[in-house]
Structure formats: C-alpha cells, structure tokens
Symmetry: C2
Subunit: 765 residues, 2 copies
C-alpha cells in the first residue's frame, strides 16, 4: 500500500486509518463461522424448485398428485397458490410473480416442493407433470427489438414492444460537435453474461409461529428490503416479519437481493406448517440468479487534432433477460458516458430490452463496468488515431475537481484521478510499453495498457428508494459500545470499518465496540448493501449517532469535572480536560456513579440517520501488463496496478482486499468468464465453475494497490465508496495491453484465446 | 370481573382496558412454544453440578482425574478455576463465588461437569472425589444470632457475627404509645420456607465464538443484569456478551435472577470450546434456588378502647440461609409494618441472619407476604380483644388517600383500599361469618376471614440499582410498529400489555404492534422483571417512546394536511383532523410518500426512559371462606374473593389471571407448601412436587376477582403494579377464617392439618 500525494495529516486520528483485524475473520478461516446454510431447525424441511426447460411457454396444466403421494413430501406449490404475489425487484419493475403460469426463460420457476430431505424433494420434482404450450422464444435482443416481435410481457401494457427502458439524453449540439471534429472514431463493443459466483449460494430458511409471525434467515444483501418484499407479497405488517441476515454471508456482489425464492420458501413453510430451507444449487446459481447484463455499445467519438473532444455518442443495448432487474443500468450507463471525460457535446441512447434469456441485474460495478470496457477501449483507439500517448489523452480530457457533470449538475468536490494515473503509470512502468504495438517478433508478446473510471451509485436511486444510512449507538454501563446497523456484513468488512468510525468519533477503545447487523428485530432500518454506499451512508449515520452519544457523555462529564463540555476530549474510553493529562474520568466510572445509575441517566441509546448532502464519486486508474502467446491466444496477466481514489481508507487492509477481489473479477470478466446459452433453446450450457472458467487466486500473478486519499470536504471522514471499484477498468486495461502487445484490438468479452487468435489473424491479413 | 366504584369514563380509550388475546398463548397451549430448555445447538454439551451433602464444610481436596477419564466428559470445573468470580446478587451482597472451596449449605455447588449427555455428566459427578473438613452447621437462626456463634462468612469482616442486616426504625414515641394504650396484644408468628416452583426450571445455554464473544440463552427474569453479572465475573466488556431470554419462559416469581449457574455454564463452555446447556433438575430447583425466606415475627400492638392504635412494634428475624439474596427483606418488612395502618408511634427491629440453610431470596410479594401474615392475623386478634368487627377495625385504621407514610415521607396519591374492603366483604357475604367463632357444633365448621395489603417495591431499590423503564418504538414504512423492551416476558403478559399501551398512545392498530423483549442485542436496557414494576415503569417508557414517535408522525401529517399538529388525532393507524371524519391520512400513506421515503424522514426510531416521579402503591383486600374438618384438620377453601386496587387494568383478563395465580400461591403458602429441612444435616427432605404439596388448579374451588380502579394522578394511564398482589393476604385471610370457623388461632405456616388439630386441642383444653 502506498498513500497518495494528498495524504493528510492524520495525527489526530487514533483508530481510523489503521488496519485492525477484520471481525469474523478468525471464524471464516477456521471454518467455524455459521452461515445460513448451516442452520438446522427442529422439523425443518428442504425445498427444491422445478424449473422450465423452455425459454418461453405457457403452462397449461400441472399435475402434482404423484409427487404429493411420495413419502416425505410435505408441501407442493404451483402458480395456482403463488400467482399475483409480486416479487419486488430493483426499483420499478413489477414483472415477476413468485410462481406464474408462464415461463419466460429456460430455468424459470414452475413449481416448488418441500420435503423431509433434499433428495426426496428432488425426486418429487420428477413426479410433477407439466403440460406446456411452448411459445416462440426471443433470445437475441436485436430480434426482441423488432416492431413485430411478440411481447414477452404482454401484461405490461404501458410498454412499447419489449422495451423496458428507452432512455435518451443529450447535452450541447452533438451534430455540430461531429461536424467540427477533425477525426471521428466509431466502434462496436459487446460484453458478456457473467455470474456473481458467490461462494455461499442463495439460501433462506422460513419459519412461522402459531400467531402467524414469519421469521426468515437468509444469505441476502438486505434484511429490510427483503422484509418489506415479503410483507408486500404476503400481506403482512412489517412489524410481524423478522428477517435475519446471519453475521456470515459468503458474498453477494449484487446478486443477492429481491429474489422470488424467499417468498416461495415462506409459502411452503406456511403450507407445511414446518420450517423450510431453500438452497439454490450451484447450477441454479449460474442460470437463475441475475447475471451481469450482456450489452452492445455502439460508440462514436469526434475530436480535434490536439485531442480535445468535440462530440461523444454512445448507443447501448442491454439484454435484460426475462425480468427487468437490470433496467436501471440502461439509464445509468448514460450518466457514466457523460461524466468521465469533458466534452461539450454528448449524447446517449440507451435501450433495456426484454428477451427470453435468464434475467440480468446488478453486479459489482453494475452500471460502470460494461460501458467502461467500451469507453476505455475507445480512448485508446482515439489516441492511436492521434498518435498520442493514451495516458496523456486521458490526463488532458478527464474530469477534474470542480467540474460539473452535465447529466445531473453535480460538481466534483474532489478528484484524485490524475494522481491515480500518475502514480499508477509510474508503478507499472508506463515508459516500458511498446512504441509500435505488435512489432516485436517474439511468439510471446508483452504489452501495457490502462483504463480509468468514475463510479456513481447512490443518490440516483429510484424515486421510492431510500438512499439513507441509519445507525443506533448504545453505550453500556461499563462504557462499552454496541453499534446496531440494519445493513448486512457480506464479507466486505462492514462491522470492522463501522466499529472504527464509531470508536474514533466517540473516543472509545475499538475492542469495546461490538457491531450487530441486519436483523429486522435487532437493528434500525438499513439499506441494501449495494452501490458501494455503505461506508459513506451508513458510516455517516454511525458517526452521527456517535456524535450524539458523545454529547450525552460530555454533558455528564462536564457536570462532574466542572468544566464546560467544549473543553473536553475523549480517547481510549476516557474523557479528558483539554490541555491536561490527569484530569478526567473514564466512561465506565462516569456511567457507574450511583446518582447517574439510579436515575437511568446512563441509558444512552442514540439513533441517527444520514443522507449524503451530495454525491462524492470515487475514481481510479488501473493498469495491466500482459503477455500474449500469439500461437495459443493465451493471455497471462503479469501485473495489475490499481491506483484508486478512495477518499480515505478507514481500514487500508480491508480496502486493499476489496480492490484485489474486484481486480480478480475484472480479470475474469476480461479474459475467461462467460455464461454460454445454447443458441436455439436458450439453455445455459456451462453452469459450473470449471466450464464457466472462474479464476482462482492462484491464477493471478501480481496485484499492486495504490490508495490515493484526497481531502474531500463533503463526505464523512472524507470516505468514498470502494466496494465495486476494483472490477471496473481491468477489462479495458487488459484489452489495451493486448493491443499494445500485439496490435490486435478485441472488442468482444471475454477476450478468449479463440477471439485473440482470430484478431491476430485479421490483423495479419 | 367487576369494576370498582371509581371506574372512570374511559370512552376515549380504544385499546387500553380491553382484553385482547395474550401474545404467545396459542404457542403455550398447543405446546409449540420453544423454551430455553428446547434449544439444541450443534455440538452442545450438557452440564451437571456436584453438590455438597454437608451444610457447612471446607473443601480440602478435589480429585477429578477419574471423572476426566470418562468417555464423553469434556470439561470439569472446580473452585480452583472459578473462585474469585463473584456472583452478583440482589443489591449489596458479594458473598458467593461461582464455585468456592467452602460449602455453606447442603446442596451448595462443589464442582461442575460438561459432557456429551446429561447421563454422562451425572456419572462423572460420582467419579469426582472430594475430601471435606466438615464444620459445625448453624441451622437455626437463633443459634446463628448468638454472639459466640462461628461466623458463616468470616471473609465479610465488616459484619457483626452472622448478621447481614440489623435494621431499626422508629417513629413517634413507642414507649409512650404502649403506656397510653388501653390494651396490648403480643404475638409470635413463624412463616415457612417455600419454593417458587416455576414449571420451567433454571436453564441456560452458553456459547462462545472464535473472537471470545459470549452468547447466553437463559430462562432468567433479566437479560441485562445477567449480562452485567457475567461481564463482571468474566471481565468482559458488556458489548461483547449477548444474553437472550427466549420469548417463552415458564415462570420466575422472583426465583430466577442473579444465579451462579450462568457463570459456571459460561466457564464450562469456554473450557470445552463447545456450547453447553445447564439445566437444574427439579430437586435442585427445590433446594438451591433461593426459597422464600422463613421468618419469625414478634408483634406488640397497643390500642385504645375505640380501636385507635397507640403503638405498634414488630421484631423480624429473617433466615437468609447461606447467601444474602433475601437481605433487603429484613429492611423492607419494616416499611410494610409502618405503612398499612395509621399509628403515631411505631417501631421495627429487623435482623437478617446467615445460617447454613439453603439461601432464601425474593419471591412473589417478597417483602410483603410473610409479614402480612403476622400483621393481618394480629389485627383479628386486636378486633377480638375489642369485640369489634375486624372489617370495621381495618376501615378505621388503614391508610387513606393523602396520608403520608412516615417511613419515607411518601404521600398516598390514590387508595382504593376501603373500596376493596367494602366491595370484597359484600361479595364474600361478610355478614354470614360466625358471630361466636368455634361455637357451631358441626364436625365441619365454616368461617370467613380477611386480610388487607399495601405493596411497595421499586424506588426502594438499592443505591446502585436502576429503577427505570426503557423502551424503543420503531415505526415501519407501512405504519406497523415494533416495540423493543429489555425486560423479559415470563408469562405475565408483558408483551400484550405493552403493545396495548403503545397502540393506545400512538393511535395504532393493536395487531400491527409487535413486541420484542429481553435480548441484549435487540433491545434497549431493561430492568429485571420483579417488584410488580414492569407495567408501571417499562410501560411508562413505552408510552413516552410512543409519544415521541407520534410527534414525528404528526409533524409530517401537519405539513401534508396543512393543519397544525395540535389539531390532529390518531386512531386505527390513521391520522385525522380533529372534528372531521374524512380529512386525514393513514400512517402507511404518510410514510410511503416518495418525498418522505427518499429522504428517510420515515425512519422513526424513538427510545425513551421513564422513572416514576413517585411511587404509587397498589392495595387490596382478600377474603377467604373455609370449611375446617375438625376431625382431620383438613381445610377446604370454599371461596376466595380478591378485591384489588389495580390502578387501571390495561388488560383486565391478564390482571385477573395474575391475581388468580397469586391467590393459588397464597393458598399453598397458607395451607400446604413447605420445604422441610432435616434438623441435624440441613438437607432438604421433600424436594419434589408430591411431598412438597404444591397445589394444582383443581385443588381450588372458587376465586372471585374484583378490580378497583381509582384515578391516580401520578402513574401512566393510572396503572399500579399487580404481579405479586394475589399472594399477599391470602394466608392471613385463611388463618382468620379458620379462627372464625373454629376459634383456634394458628400462628405458624403452613397451617397443616397437624397444626390445626393441635390448635383445636389447645383450645379445648
């Protein structure tokens, strides 16, 4: 870890900026951590879901009588009981039922069984006989966009054809911009369908009590939104449903929220009168859990001789699949397009299209990662056209502190982007890149490339979505602190980071702070962990609650020490009079004074909410050095340098870990990962780790992380979101490095050996 | 149920005063409710405690090597590892260790074992070889009080001999009072050692995580005090220990808090590295769980010819047993003595004495029930001496609204005591009582008697004990309400009553309110459920939190409806403009408005504390009609009329249930129940339901309840504590009824057939 040139004088901080051990790490590495899947309730049944082999069909008849007679089968559910139970999703869409009499992709849910064992449930699925009326399937977005294409969601009468989103934005005069350009570069990029691959699958356990109260445990990314969706679907008051996300969740990456499985599981448990566990198999994880949206980007860039942009246009086509969880991406990619570089004339046309493919949706760097591949590959093409150093071109045109983003008039209060570029290029050895790409005669060619990013997630939330942090701080009689957060810990280190923020603000010993997360009966409301928002938003609330609790402590200490509260300081769970070293009182002494105790003045429970006054985007520059085997098409990633403007790293080790994990995701996205659908049936043909080609830690040579910490005046402790950033610019950096090595440009993801060999052949021809 | 003459116009109340079904009742009656004892954690071990056969001994040596070698034994604990871990108790005493090298009663803990099964643990106990140095045991308080008696707690150097408490209080001039009396009555009463007999025994489960966090589930009456005592003993921050009291607890009655078992269980679990359950057997329940304190009361009452009291004196000797959990009673009985009747000259000498008997402590009506037997029997004797109707004597001398209690200068803000006496005497048919006790010639003689009571518990808490209620109200987006309370539901109906208070104050639908209790990671701080304080104190906090939440709702509604908040009313989860029926908005509509949601203004979490500005004592008069078989000594209770000043019954059915349960306790205390200790060894000889003679519901003919509801200006909704009241005056009412039937006076509890026959013989002789 190397700190950026903006590093502040942090001498007044005692906990923030350090890297204490991550809470829960010991339980994870010793295998003792209990996940949802480890639960076992007395009498618990196991559920399985029957899935459609057809990409599009109407269910004419379901005969479950044979399955019902199987010994050990306790409940069967079909659309007859679950239709009209909407699955609330990501914002606007109400296009999916828990179960339906229509299936819209190969793998869509048809019926569900709860039985004494998983095996019995599986066996029962085979005894459920379904008569389908198979309908024509639209597997290609281009087909689905045709005016005469059959509607996949005829019930959504407000939609035109299969378009869920048609989003057009323009600033300046795009036509004039192109007219005035010295050069115009046009390209077409396609990105792939990839999967989150959380090590823990989607799993939930539902249990009802005698009075109709539902408790659900889940490996979800949200407790409260899941509670609300269950209440909506099942018509229950929110006070009577408890959703618990256990302290250990094996990853989420955007794939674990708002799913139909929870409702199905709850309905099965109610019908059977027993608790039910529903765990998705690895196969189901691959083909039913909302992949990253495959996209097509058509780009057109106009620029002057000196590299100044005159016009930038992107058309995006997003394959939503059967349900519209990815809809928002078709809009927000436009924001991304318009915010990373300065340009007076920009336009964006975005289309989110229903197909009969598996539904796509949020995934790490949801609205940034696919389009960044197109934009940052394009920048290299522009630089080549100009004969300019792509680093120089980026430094010239990229957004700077104080700039206003036209899309939403936000001004950039701090950007460490230029520093990321400068520090990162130095570290990777930018001067070593090929001057004449592809000219070296070796079979194995080396090259260096880069990509940059901005990221934007919260505050663009849908009109009805809260982008607010919430936290409760409780001080106990011994001065120890409980922090309650409604947001789950999904492995990102939330509990550690939040404890550091509260310990810092309160002046408490870190080891005295305990964090409780994501249980709708334990914690205040909490937003879904998504959009790299938690440290900023929930951290802001945690700090605010700590400020309030500290005020209470200082008021008491002020009376006791006969010193104005404004002259007090706290550190290590002790309150001092400023300027003295001996005059003071420990939290514990203060709170256990008999007069304070007797009147309950030491009962300190402070709840605070926090909304960012304005969004503070993170930035970064990622560099790749690759070695391309021109005979096999194999690409070896020699080194990745990830230089990130993280605002402030509350816990640098956790931040680095997040970035490294993201980089791995980015390498897989760039080179190997892809869910492949059979062209005629739409069935997923590689739903397993081996054929999907998920990378392992050992597949990566070297990742170097540089943390740049500019002073941001807006955010809490100056932090910026970091969870998704590692993934964004890795694929274009690799594409640009491959180009630098070989002179061959790959515009399709993943950049597989086949595609590389093909591109090399094209170049030679 | 019949309401008292003070019944208010409650038309403005919609939920309070009604009797909705008790939460959890269905789970209880269907047997589906899960208690602590039903828990089963993966890898859980079972613990047993080795107990001393000697009432007093020093442990010279413990050889556990054989036990350790037994297959399935996972951890053994002796004083070597647990000494110096104090068991915090009821207020002041620090006289008990988790395990000690000294045993102080027959049944005291010596060692503990955790093993794969209860049977293995039991077997291991037999393989632990202990060498004792047996010491002389003090089994009679009179012996223990002698100046030359050996000290049972020599380590408590500040104590004089075996006296834990010597408490003397006097008002007026007691000598002069007796000199001026026309009559003086002197008596001596003894009360018995009885047991709480909770249907669920003491049971706890301890589990540690990899980071040294402890979670404990327990059937205790307190989550937070248990957490604090574990932290004290084990030197852990309070934030890192979670204590959960499950929603179902099978009774407490004062017997379930502050015990050593929790610490032993936690230590075993830490040593074994696995979860441990420790459940006391029924035998242990009887002889180790702090019985009601056996007492001796010497009374002396001076009075004028017209029944006016001139002097009242009581000397109380309380057998604390080996540990001083009952110490406070030796003081507070003095308060009781000085508060029930007006008298210008009163004095009290109280002694709390250590013996080598099983420890005694709090039990339903802790400081009231034993002394009420003496005082209320005495009043009948005074009436007989005067030839006066005992009802008339009580009406003449009992404390009235506006009186000031000399003991602590509290004024009585409301008393329904006279009304209780008048209504109860009418109901029992007071005029049917024998004019000449014992003169009827039948073998089976009927008689009617009565007793009255005041009760006092909170606000006399120790100097370091908080008598404060605390509650958090959370409003969810759909307007439903979660109420969080740190106090446990032990079957008393807390969750129902508190939901009613919050629903009433907030104007919410009762079915939308859910109550979460007693989990140190879910709820704000909560006091132990004891002293009939919960509805008053915690209810006060629940109301205050609801007031705050309602203020937030009304502020929002005021903006929306453009009407000052002061003109708004709420009912059925809807806010109305006062005086209109159609203008308004439902909680749900209000909170789900997109502007409100987006900014998180609908995140409403309000925590409040409440301390009673002054104590509001409950009162009551209880009447018994009995039939005494003068040949067998058997007493049949024909009818009990319990007329109680309950302030206001939030849920009349629950109040009646509490009173009825208390009456049953009182009948057992009066007639059958007694833990009998062997005279020379101090061993309990009847530790089972049969020999202990616990009454069953079927043993009681009839209980009639009268609720008197005077307007109290101080307490929340006018409520008074009711949990313990049913038990207090039943025994003296029965004693007085037996006297009325037979002319024989019994001054020892229980009033067994043997004692009745003996008294009848004495009378005849």
């Amino acid at each position: 870890m190397e700190s950026g040139c903006y590093k502040k004088l942090d001498k007044h901080l005692s906990v923030v900026g350090k890297s204490p051990e991550m809470t829960g790490a010991r339980e994870k590495v010793t295998g003792k951590g209990k996940y949802t899947v480890d639960m076992k309730l007395p009498g618990m049944l196991y559920a399985k879901i029957l899935r459609s082999p057809y990409a599009h069909a109407k269910i004419l008849e379901i005969d479950a009588s044979e399955a019902e007679r199987l010994s050990g089968v306790k409940a069967i559910l079909t659309y007859k009981e679950a239709k009209l139970l909407y699955v609330p999703g990501h914002g606007r869409n109400v296009d999916e039922f828990a179960l339906d009499d229509r299936v819209r992709y190969a793998g869509d849910k048809v019926a569900a069984v709860a039985a004494e064992s998983n095996d019995t449930a599986e066996a029962a699925l085979e005894q459920i006989h379904v008569k389908y009326d198979v309908l024509p399937a639209l597997l290609d977005p281009a087909e689905a966009m045709k005016p005469d294409a059959p509607k996949i969601h005829p019930e959504l009468s407000n939609l035109k054809g299969n378009f869920q989103v048609v989003h057009k934005k323009a600033y300046g005069d795009i036509e004039r911009g192109f007219r005035e350009a010295d050069h115009i570069v046009e390209n077409r990029y396609t990105t792939s369908r990839v999967c989150h691959c959380s090590l823990e699958p989607h799993v939930c356990v539902a249990s009802w009590n005698e009075e109709g109260r539902l408790t659900m445990w889940s490996s979800d990314q949200t407790a409260f939104a899941m509670r609300d969706s269950l209440c909506n679907a099942l018509n229950l008051p929110m006070s009577k449903v408890r959703v618990v996300i256990p302290v250990h969740v094996g990853g989420g990456f955007g794939g674990k929220y708002g799913s139909a499985e929870g409702i199905v599981c709850a309905l099965l448990a109610r019908k059977a009168g027993r608790p039910v566990m529903l765990e998705l198999s690895r196969e189901e994880e691959f083909y039913t859990t909302r992949t990253r949206s495959p996209c097509i980007f058509e780009t057109k860039t106009g620029f002057e001789k000196d590299g100044t942009f005159t016009a930038r246009y992107v058309k995006a086509i997003v394959d939503l699949g059967a349900y519209a969880y990815g809809a928002v991406m078709a809009e927000r990619a436009g924001f991304y397009h318009m915010s990373l570089y300065r340009c007076p004339n920009t336009a964006y046309d975005g289309y989110g299209v229903y197909t009969n493919n598996p539904p796509s949706g949020p995934m790490r760097g949801f609205t940034s990662t696919p389009i960044d591949f197109a934009i940052e590959s394009d920048i290299d093409e522009v630089a080549r056209e100009l004969g300019m150093d792509p680093l120089e071109l980026r430094l010239k045109n990229s957004i700077k502190t104080g700039d206003v983003i036209p899309y939403n008039d936000y001004d950039v209060t701090s950007s460490g982007l230029d520093q990321c570029m400068l520090l990162g290029s130095k570290r990777i050895g930018w001067e070593r890149r090929q001057k004449n790409p592809g000219e070296v005669e070796d079979v194995k060619k080396r090259g260096i490339g880069m990509g940059i990013f901005i990221h934007f997630a919260p505050k663009l939330a849908g009109p009805n979505e809260r982008s607010v942090g919430c936290a409760t701080v409780r001080i106990n009689d011994d001065g120890s602190v409980n922090l309650f957060l409604g947001t789950p810990e999904i492995g990102q280190g939330l509990t550690t980071t939040m404890a550091q923020i509260v310990a810092e603000e309160l002046g408490a010993r870190l080891q005295d702070v305990n964090v409780t997360v994501a249980d709708t009966e334990k914690t205040p409301w909490g937003v879904v962990v998504s959009g790299s928002r938690t440290t900023v938003e929930t951290g802001g609330a945690a700090k605010a609650a700590a400020v309030d609790a500290k005020r209470r402590l200082f008021e008491m200490a002020s009376k006791l020490l006969k010193v104005p509260a404004g002259e007090l300081l706290s550190r290590d769970s002790r309150i001092y009079v400023s300027g003295t070293s001996d005059k003071g009182v420990s939290f514990s002494e203060l709170l256990q004074r008999s007069d304070v105790r007797a009147h309950g003045d030491n009962i300190i429970v402070c709840t605070a909410t926090y909304q960012m006054p304005k969004y503070v985007p993170p930035f970064g520059a990622q560099f790749a050095e690759v070695e391309v085997d021109t005979e096999t098409g194999q690409v070896k990633v020699v080194n990745i340098v990830a230089a990130h403007d993280v605002g402030r790293a509350i816990n640098p080790t956790i931040v680095e870990g997040q970035i490294e994990g993201g980089v791995l995701t980015g390498i897989g996205y760039g080179l190997t990962e892809e869910l492949v659908l059979e062209k005629t049936t739409g069935q997923t043909i590689n739903p397993d780790f081996l054929d999907y080609k998920l990378l392992r830690a050992a597949d990566v040579s070297k990742i170097e992380t540089i943390l740049v910490e500019p002073v941001d005046p807006v955010s809490v402790f100056g932090v910026k979101g970091i969870g998704e950033m590692g993934a964004i610019s890795v694929a274009p950096a690799i594409a640009n490095a491959i180009y630098n090595a070989t002179g061959a440009r790959i515009r399709e993801l993943p950049m597989s050996p086949e595609r590389i060999l093909k591109a090399l052949r094209t170049r030679r021809e």
